[in-house]
Symmetry: C2
Subunit: 239 residues, 2 copies
């Protein structure tokens, strides 16, 4: 049950919850393809294929199969994995580096900046993301998201849903689990946050995977807040 | 020699460089003393005594004499060390907790917010402080300092001048030492930053210890920028 009085900080999953990674990556990939003469490039499929490498690679780190690796490197590895399948072999090193940086330039959903700005008036607002620190800082500057802090995998040297992330965020924010509200579009993330005592806010993002979304089609638990935008989360918290 | 083109991020020592801890602590301590009937309280001496415990306690952590301990706890320990000497025994737990939180409410020097705001237009701006994450977030919200990120001891689980802090900041900001400019009022901090390849900006803060300042009376090396305010640092970086 929502305990508004206890909340001091609202922390946000970022990819999918705050920013629309799919449209942004598709757009930048189309531009990269065009730069080497490919006109009818399927940017959406490319974005989906790139993203498909995300969780498996983080899992290797979480499982200890490989040492700590920042997400910029995982993104780049996956790019190399798929570049030939999409006929992008002709992209040179500079172009590949720049395309990998598209993750630093993801565009927010329309309600994200207004909603976070309202919440910031009353609460600490921070990322809580598997992205790298530099990625999140660049993305946030670019999109003008006024975070009070950047909490992310690089800080915890762990990827969600590893418990180090949740416990680490609670510790850095003062040690009171109920004072932290986790806002995310993904049930697994909220479930883990709740397990460690955070309050939770689900934001429905039906277009995260375009027409292909198969998970997180709805709130799967009685999250403290269930909303269709971050502005609605701000409403629920009287901001 | 200043390499302006290389700079991507300007990171700031905070206590003394960005905020005037002494006046803020003296003011809040006077108010706490007044609340228990003490009228002629020497807030300045109290602030100096409190601060005097800062480096020795951090050194214990750096030297491995004690395990990692966040700065909020070190501040509170030192408060307990000196409370009797200053006749403040009558402060109850709630009042002591609140007084310890005075470190979360330190006021910036007049040039800090304008200077950092100008730098933010062109560079990543972040704290680089021995303060705790929560302290820096609260302080920055309170003072309206528009950081892009909070880099601090809690993130590195180490206190400056430990090398983990400098190398950690460089890593989180993308791995290029010259792309990071460290701004500080303390020569030891800049010296360590330079050792690991950062560019450096010295800001003179003659009033950090009131009339009692004994160290850092001037720039002791040819720092890339030598200034008397953060606005002057912004001038030097064409912001």
């Amino acid at each position: 049950m929502l305990n508004k009085k206890a909340v001091k900080a609202v922390i946000f999953d970022t990819f999918g919850t705050v920013v629309d990674w799919r449209s942004s990556i598709a757009r930048e990939a189309r531009a990269a393809a065009q730069s080497i003469g490919i006109e009818d490039f399927d940017g959406d499929s490319f974005a989906d294929a790139w993203r498909a490498g995300y969780h498996p690679k983080m899992k290797e780190v979480r499982d200890g199969v490989r040492p700590w690796t920042t997400n910029d490197v995982l993104h780049r590895e996956r790019l190399e994995d798929i570049v030939a399948d999409f006929g992008l072999d002709a992209l040179d090193e500079a172009a590949r580096f720049d395309l990998n940086r598209a993750w630093h330039r993801l565009a927010p959903w329309p309600d994200s900046v207004p909603g976070i700005s309202r919440l910031k008036n009353r609460y600490i607002v921070s990322t809580f993301s598997n992205g790298s620190f530099g990625l999140l800082v660049n993305l946030s500057k670019n999109a003008k998201i006024p975070w009070d802090g950047i909490l992310c995998s690089d800080v915890f040297r762990a990827f969600k849903p590893a418990r180090e992330c949740y416990l680490g965020a609670i510790e850095l924010l003062g040690g009171e689990p109920q004072s932290v509200m986790l806002c995310a579009a993904h049930n697994y993330d909220l479930s883990q946050g709740r397990k460690y005592g955070m309050q939770t806010a689900y934001v429905d993002r039906p277009l995260e995977y375009g027409p292909n979304k198969k998970t997180d089609l709805k709130a799967e638990q009685d999250w403290e807040i269930i909303a269709t935008s971050i502005e609605q989360v701000a409403d629920a918290l009287d901001c």
